[in-house]
């Protein structure tokens, strides 16, 4: 049973009607209502606002790292620790065999958790310095053994805490970004949910950046942006929605700006309605992006990746 988002209330009502018909033995009525619900769902998702997409991107039932990696990689072997201080479970990394391609890959990504216990364990996907240092370490490991890297970015941001600052949160993110840009192996970054701020880019500087259709990618959360730029907003006004709109956070916007390369389609009504279909769609996109990269030499990969970032935004 799907958890309906606020803006999906009208769809939920029709779906409820269908259930009522069915309970009353009116199968034809139920089918009719189901058809209407599906049509409304399609219409709604065809024109989601940036703020509605933010809600979809944060949906608790959206596929997370653990679900995705299970489907994407056979024999996934997690690799832990930053070799300096600790193990950060907000950012998971490991190695395994990419299904369908039969080549090893290193996969790194944020894990938000799926219930209270696992959310706390994974710190809601908000990485500390150790997570970014582990990511840098694993990218370097991948480079030494000619193993392509796939990352899955889904984070509200790096964790803002005293301990993280004391251990160099900023330096860890900067160093991770640098490791990605220097890697002699193919890197594909997927923005799967919310890709927010330095917390996302720390694992997302890649040869190819792909993004789920309803994911969002932004320099700061809409709420954070609103609290700074709409300081005098009256109470009750949803300025975060305005900020999401103004910052152009959607996949279509990011593609138009040349920041991402490919939009990955989601099943009707968003990835959370059919996580396995969403993951299959992502797997297909990753395979398609990976093929041409595998033909490039290490020098060519680095040269092209750097040129891509240097050129970004110059022709707008």
């Amino acid at each position: 049973m799907s958890q309906y988002l606020d803006f999906e209330k009208p769809i939920a009502q029709i779906a409820q009607r269908a259930a009522d018909y069915r309970a009353a033995g009116d199968e034809a009525g139920a089918r009719h209502a189901e058809g209407a619900a599906r049509r409304l769902l399609a219409e709604t998702y065809a024109r989601l606002t940036p703020w509605q997409k933010t809600m979809v991107a944060r949906h608790p039932q959206r596929p997370h790292f653990t679900d995705t990696v299970k489907a994407l990689v056979a024999d996934f072997m997690p690799l832990a620790g930053d070799r300096a201080y600790g193990e950060d479970e907000a950012i998971i990394g490991g190695i395994g065999t990419l299904r369908g391609q039969n080549i090893p890959v290193v996969v790194i990504g944020h894990e938000k958790g799926s219930d209270t216990a696992s959310r706390v364990k994974h710190n809601f996907g908000m990485g500390r310095p150790e997570g970014y240092r582990k990511a840098a370490r694993l990218v370097e490991l991948a480079g030494r053994f000619n193993v392509p890297v796939i990352t899955l970015a889904d984070s509200a941001g790096a964790y803002p805490g005293v301990d993280g600052e004391a251990r160099g949160q900023a330096e860890a993110i900067a160093r991770a970004t640098a490791a990605f840009l220097a890697a002699p192996v193919p890197i594909i970054a997927a923005i799967t949910g919310e890709g927010m701020s330095g917390g996302a880019i720390g694992i997302a500087a890649a040869d190819r950046v792909i993004m789920f259709e309803h994911a969002v990618y932004a320099v700061i959360s809409p709420e954070g942006c609103a609290s700074i730029l709409w300081r005098t907003a009256e109470k009750g006004q949803n300025r975060a929605a305005d900020a999401a709109e103004a910052m152009k956070v959607t996949a279509a916007d990011c593609k138009a700006l040349g920041v991402i390369d490919t939009i990955v389609p989601e099943p009707l009504g968003g990835a959370h309605r059919d996580p396995q279909a969403a993951i299959a769609s992502l797997a297909m996109a990753i395979a398609a992006e990976l093929q041409p990269l595998l033909a490039k030499s290490p020098q060519q990969l680095i040269r092209d990746r750097r040129a891509k970032y240097l050129a970004m935004g110059r022709t707008l």
């Binding site: 790096a158 964790y159 803002p160 805490g161 005293v162 993280g164 600052e165 004391a166 251990r167 160099g168 949160q169 900023a170 330096e171 993110i173 900067a174 160093r175 970004t177 640098a178 990605f180 840009l181 220097a182 701020s197 330095g198 996302a200 880019i201 720390g202 500087a205 990618y217 932004a218 320099v219 700061i220 954070g224 942006c225 700074i228 730029l229 709409w230 300081r231 005098t232 305005d242 900020a243 103004a246 910052m247 152009k248 956070v249 916007d253 990011c254 700006l257 920041v259 750097r306 970032y309 240097l310 970004m312 935004g313 110059r314 707008l316």
Partner: protein, 284 residues
């Protein structure tokens, strides 16, 4: 309060009310002391009473650092307002206001000159220009500095000051983090030193990219340096922050900096450093 202090405060109050551009006195934001502006500036905008390092812009920094003449690199051309961004004000209006207030085209200026007889490219971020925020303009200025350093086979010194990324440029501002990092890697490849001087304040995406990737990391005393803003941290952890948290000395103690250097010693420190780092350089 002494008679002279009182008179000074009354005097500046009077001058401020008249909006006199050439204030005779400068009030220290830290200790409140009133200092002759001439004395203040002769002291590199550092309070002679309490050593508070006041925020200074690119022109003052160039004048303090370079031996004599220097050449300011032309401002890079970038798309103005690529998102057509509007909050409670239009981004283009904010840009206009910042340009009028600072007389500068963007929040970073880069110049080519000599420090203690050695050529150096120096980039300076200006907090007075929209909080020093990093968008395409700052990114391009940073990269123009990289190109100038590569062309001159000279070291690149960057003074950081920023509240973070420029939200009005959305995701493009975030992309300045990898873009500037590529520039730093080009300097590494060419065997050219990249030295960072963190000034008050340096936070957000700027800290999490080029401000933390120096071959040598220097900060001015008491500069606020961090990734997350203090207000955000306090709201998240719901407790008061430790004394001196995110200050230059705190970062030094936590291994994030090589040194904290008083402004009066900066030129000498930088000159010696680039001399040592360039002496046995192997050109790529």
């Amino acid at each position: 309060m002494s008679w002279i202090t009182r008179t000074r405060q009354q005097l500046t109050g009077f001058l401020a009310r008249r909006d006199t551009p050439d204030n005779l006195w400068t009030k220290c934001k830290n200790c409140g002391a009133m200092v002759y502006t001439k004395e203040w500036e002769d002291n590199a905008s550092v309070c002679p009473r309490c050593d508070h390092h006041d925020r200074i812009g690119p022109k003052a920094r160039f004048a303090q650092l370079f031996d004599g003449d220097y050449r300011v690199l032309p401002a890079a051309k970038v798309a103005e307002d690529p998102l057509k961004f509007k909050d409670q004000k239009k981004y283009t209006d904010r840009l206009k206001a910042a340009r009028a207030a600072t007389g500068e085209p963007e929040a970073m200026m880069v110049a080519d000159g000599q420090i203690m007889g050695r050529r150096a490219i120096v980039g300076v971020q200006d907090f007075a220009f929209m909080g020093g925020s990093m968008g395409m303009g700052v990114g391009e200025a940073f990269l123009a500095g990289v190109d100038a350093a590569l062309a001159a086979s000279a070291p690149y010194i960057v003074f950081t000051a920023a509240g973070g990324a420029r939200m009005q440029e959305g995701i493009l501002s975030l992309m300045q983090m990898p873009r500037t990092t590529v520039g730093i890697q080009q300097l590494h490849d060419a065997g050219l030193p990249y030295i960072v001087v963190l000034t008050d304040p340096t936070t957000g995406g700027v800290t999490a990219s080029y401000a933390m990737l120096g071959d040598v990391q220097i900060a001015e005393p008491n500069a606020l340096i961090g990734f997350a803003g203090q207000r955000v941290i306090e709201q998240t952890i719901r407790e008061k922050l430790p004394e001196g948290f995110q200050r230059a000395e705190y970062l030094l103690e936590h291994g994030m900096l090589d040194m904290v250097v008083h402004r009066r010693d900066l030129k000498d420190t930088l000159g010696r450093l680039i001399g040592l780092l360039m002496a046995r350089r192997i050109a790529a």
